[in-house]
C-alpha cells in the first residue's frame, strides 16, 4: 500500500473529471493549443467614450501647437550639425546656411545659474580673422613693399643724404612700429578671452577624449 496514499497510478498528474467540472470546464470545452502569439493590437472590447470638444479645448490645442512650434524653432531643440550625404546639390548652400544659422544660436539662459562646464566658452573666432588678414594678398604685398623700401633706404642712406628721404623713412618706421605693437596688443586681448574661457582645473574629463579615434580601427 505504500505510495498509494492519494490517487492511483499517476492519475494525480491531471484533474479528474469531477474536479474539472467543479472549475467550470465541461466536456468538450477543452480548446486546442494556441500556437500563435496574441495580436499586437487586440481589438477593443468596449468603444471608448468620445472626447470633449469645446471652445476651451480648441483653444488649448492651438496654444499647445504654438508652444511646440516655438520650441522647435528655438535653440532649445537640439539638432546635430548638418551633414551632407556626399552628393552636392545646388540648393545645399542655402539649406545649410539656413540650418546653420539656427544651429549657431546659443540658448539664452541665466548663465550664473548654470554649472561652469555648461557655460559657453569664449569662442576664438578672432584667431581665424587674423590669419585671414595675413593670407590676404594685398596685406602681404604691402608688407613686402615696405620691407623692400626699407632695404632700399638702407642702401641709399649711405650715398644720398636728403632730409626729405630721411623724414619719410622715419614716419614709415614709426608706422611700422605701431602696427607691430597693435598686433601684440591684439594677441594679448585674445588670450584673455572672458572668465569663462579659463579652465581653472583639470577635471580629468579630457583624459579619455583622445580615444574617440579608436573607432577607425587599429593601425597596421
Amino acid at each position: 500500500m505504500a505510495g498509494r496514499g492519494r490517487g492511483r497510478g499517476g492519475s494525480n498528474l491531471s484533474f479528474t473529471h469531477d474536479q474539472l467540472q467543479a472549475l467550470g470546464i465541461a466536456r468538450g470545452d477543452n480548446t486546442s493549443q494556441v500556437l500563435i502569439p496574441p495580436p499586437l493590437f487586440p481589438k477593443l472590447e468596449a468603444k471608448p467614450l468620445p472626447l470633449t470638444s469645446d471652445a476651451a479645448t480648441d483653444y488649448m490645442l492651438i496654444v499647445k501647437d504654438l508652444f511646440i512650434e516655438y520650441l522647435h524653432e528655438s535653440p532649445a531643440y537640439v539638432k546635430r550639425k548638418t551633414k551632407t550625404d556626399g552628393i552636392e546639390r545646388y540648393s545645399d548652400k542655402y539649406k545649410m546656411l539656413a540650418l546653420d544659422a539656427k544651429n549657431n544660436k546659443v540658448l539664452d539662459c541665466v548663465w550664473a545659474n548654470m554649472p561652469v562646464e555648461l557655460r559657453p566658452q569664449a569662442k576664438r573666432t578672432q584667431v581665424s580673422n587674423r590669419k585671414r588678414k595675413f593670407a590676404d594678398q594685398d596685406a602681404i604685398d604691402k608688407r613686402l613693399l615696405t620691407l623692400e623700401k626699407k632695404e632700399n633706404q638702407d642702401d641709399t642712406d649711405e650715398t644720398v643724404d636728403t632730409a626729405e628721404n630721411e623724414k619719410a623713412a622715419k614716419t614709415q618706421e614709426v608706422n611700422d612700429d605701431e602696427e607691430i605693437e597693435d598686433e601684440q596688443e591684439e594677441e594679448m586681448e585674445m588670450d584673455d578671452g572672458t572668465d569663462y574661457a579659463n579652465n581653472y582645473f583639470d577635471n580629468g574629463e579630457e583624459y579619455d577624449e583622445e580615444d574617440d579615434n579608436l573607432d577607425d580601427g587599429p593601425v597596421y
Binding site: 488649448m60 490645442l61 496654444v63 499647445k64 520650441l71 537640439v78 561652469v116
Partner: protein, 507 residues
C-alpha cells in the same frame, strides 16, 4: 519612477525638444544622476550636443544639478514630474485667459517660453511684439500692472538664485522669497523705442509658479464636484469656504483648521442680490453640504454659529474613487463595476459572498472577479485557518481594495496610454510628413501672394497643386492628430487627480 513613467518622459522630451534631448533625458532617467562625462559615454553623443541638451533641460527646469563628490563638476538629475507638466502648459494659459484676461495670458505664455526671465525684458519683449496689434491694445503700462498683480497673487515667483559655496566650483540654487517688485516704466519705454534690451540692468529673474495654478485647479475641481452634486448655490458656498481656508491654514492641508460659519453667513448676505436663495437658506445649504457633500466639509464644533473644516484630503480620495469606478465601468463593464463597488462597501469579502451579493451568474461573477484581480483593481488576502478537525488546513481568501495601490495602477495606466498617444501621433506625423510639409508650403506661398495682391487666378493655380485626394488625406490626418492631442489633455487631468491624491500620506 516606473518603467512606464520613463517611457512617457522620453516620448514627451522627443515631442518637445527632439531626439537628442530625448536620448540625454532618458539616459538620466535610467541612471539617476550622473556627470557629463558619463552621459557622453553611455549615449555616445558628441560632448557639445550633450551640453546643449543639458542647457535645455536646466533652462526649462526639467533637470537639476548638484556638486558631485569632488566639488568640481556637477551631477545632473532629471525631474520627471516637471517633464509631465509640459503637457499641462495649455491649461495654465487657459486659466490665465479666463481669470485675468489676455494680458495675463501673454505674460504667462512668454514666461513659459523663456522659462526664466527678468521682469523688464519680459515686458519689453511682449510690448514690442504686440506694438502694431491695434485689436488687443497692449500697452507696457497695463502689462506692468498685470505683472505686479500676478506676482501678488503668486502665479509668478522669483527664480532661485545661484550661490557659490566655498571650495566648490558648482553653484547651488537657493530659492528666495518673492518680493513684489517696483518696476520703473521709463527705462522700459526707452528700451522699447531703441529696440535694445541689453541696456536694461535687471538681474531679478522670474518664473511661473506651477503650484499656484495647481491650487486653482484643485479648487475648481472641488467646486465643480459640489455644483454637480447639489447645485450652484452650494458650489458658491464651497468657493467661500475655500477662500476662507486660504486665510487660515496651509494651502495644501489635508484638513483645514476650523472655519467660522458666521463669516460665511456674512459673505452670503453680501451676495443677497445675486443669489437670494443662498442668502435665505444658508444654514440648510451648510447642512446639506455636510451630510451629502461627499465628505468635503465636516462640522467640528458648534461654537460661534458652527465651526466647519474643509477636508481636501478626503475630497481627493472621493474623487479618485469616482475616477476608479468610472475606469472599471469603461474597461470591464457595469457588472464588474458592481463587484468593485460591492467589495469597496464591504471592505473585506469572501468570494462566495461576492457571488451571493452581486446578483450575477456564478461563472460570470467569478470570471469578472478574476479579471479585476488580473488588472490590479482588487487584491486578495489569504487568511489561513488553523488546522481543525478535518485535518486539512483551509484558507479563506478575502478580496479587498487597497486604494493607494489601485491608484498607483491606474496612474500607470494613464502613463501607458499617454505614451501610446504620443507614439501614435508621432508615427502619424512621420507617415504624412511630406504631405503636411507641402500643405504648409502652399499656405505660405498663398499667404505671400495675398499680401502682394496677386490675381485670384494665380492663387487658385497654386492652391490646386494640392489634389483633392491629398486634401482628403490631410483632413483625416489633422482630425486624428487633434483627437490624440485632446486625449493628452484629458489624460493629464486624470494624472492631476492622482497626483493630488498621492500628496496625502496613505492611511
Amino acid at each position: 519612477m516606473s518603467h512606464q513613467l520613463g517611457r512617457v518622459v522620453s516620448a514627451i522630451l522627443q515631442r518637445y525638444f527632439g531626439d537628442i534631448v530625448q536620448q540625454v533625458g532618458s539616459d538620466l532617467f535610467t541612471y539617476g544622476s550622473k556627470p557629463i562625462g558619463m552621459i557622453v559615454k553611455t549615449t555616445g553623443l558628441a560632448r557639445s550636443l550633450v551640453i546643449d541638451s543639458l542647457r535645455t533641460l536646466l533652462k526649462f527646469d526639467l533637470a537639476t544639478f548638484e556638486p558631485s563628490a569632488n566639488e568640481l563638476i556637477a551631477d545632473y538629475k532629471l525631474i520627471p514630474d516637471n517633464v509631465l507638466l509640459l503637457i499641462r502648459y495649455p491649461r495654465y494659459l487657459l486659466q490665465m485667459k479666463s481669470k485675468y484676461g489676455s494680458e495675463a495670458e501673454l505674460l504667462v505664455e512668454e514666461l513659459l517660453q523663456q522659462a526664466t526671465c527678468s521682469a523688464s525684458v519680459l515686458l519689453v519683449t511682449i510690448a514690442t511684439k504686440y506694438k502694431d496689434d491695434k485689436e488687443k491694445n497692449i500697452t507696457i503700462l497695463k502689462l506692468k500692472e498685470m505683472f505686479i498683480s500676478l506676482v501678488t497673487a503668486g502665479y509668478i515667483q522669483q527664480a532661485p538664485v545661484a550661490e557659490l559655496k566655498e571650495g566648490s566650483e558648482v553653484p547651488t540654487l537657493v530659492p528666495v522669497a518673492t518680493i513684489v517688485p517696483d518696476i520703473e516704466i521709463r527705462p522700459l519705454i526707452q528700451a522699447m523705442s531703441s529696440g535694445d534690451t541689453s541696456e536694461l540692468k535687471d538681474n531679478i529673474y522670474w518664473r511661473v509658479n506651477y503650484d499656484r495654478f495647481h491650487l486653482d485647479f484643485r479648487d475648481e475641481i472641488m467646486i465643480k464636484a459640489i455644483t454637480r452634486r447639489i447645485d450652484e448655490n452650494a458650489g458658491e458656498l464651497m468657493r467661500f469656504l475655500l477662500e476662507q481656508m486660504y486665510l487660515k491654514s496651509p494651502a495644501w492641508a489635508a484638513e483645514s483648521s476650523p472655519l467660522c460659519a458666521l463669516e460665511l453667513r456674512e459673505r452670503c448676505r453680501g451676495l443677497a442680490a445675486e443669489r437670494p436663495l443662498l442668502h435665505q437658506y444658508v444654514d440648510q445649504y451648510l447642512k446639506v453640504l455636510e451630510e451629502n457633500g461627499g465628505g468635503f466639509v465636516r462640522r467640528v464644533g458648534d461654537s460661534g454659529g458652527g465651526q466647519l473644516c474643509v477636508r481636501a484630503g478626503l475630497a481627493a480620495r472621493e474623487l479618485v474613487l469616482a475616477a476608479l469606478d468610472h475606469t472599471v465601468t469603461e474597461r470591464l463593464g457595469s457588472k464588474a463595476a458592481r463587484i468593485f463597488r460591492l467589495i469597496r462597501a464591504r471592505k473585506y469579502i469572501e468570494e462566495d459572498d461576492i457571488q451571493k451579493n452581486a446578483m450575477l451568474v456564478n461563472k460570470e461573477c467569478k470570471q469578472l472577479t478574476y479579471k479585476l484581480l488580473e488588472e490590479h483593481f482588487i487584491s486578495v488576502q489569504p487568511m489561513r485557518k488553523a488546522a481543525s478537525s478535518g485535518g486539512l488546513a483551509k484558507a479563506v481568501y478575502l478580496y479587498h481594495i487597497k486604494l493607494h495601490d489601485v491608484s498607483q495602477a491606474a496612474q500607470e495606466l494613464c502613463y501607458r496610454s499617454l505614451h501610446n498617444v504620443l507614439r501614435r501621433a508621432r508615427s502619424t506625423r512621420t507617415a504624412h510628413a511630406r504631405l503636411r510639409d507641402k500643405l504648409r508650403r502652399v499656405r505660405t506661398i498663398v499667404h505671400g501672394m495675398r499680401l502682394r495682391g496677386e490675381p485670384q487666378r494665380n492663387i487658385d493655380d497654386v492652391e490646386e497643386t494640392l489634389t483633392p485626394p491629398e486634401l482628403a488625406v490631410l483632413q483625416d490626418v489633422e482630425k486624428q492628430l487633434k483627437q490624440l492631442s485632446t486625449a493628452e489633455l484629458e489624460l493629464d487631468r486624470n494624472l492631476f487627480l492622482f497626483k493630488w491624491y498621492f500628496m496625502y500620506p496613505e492611511k
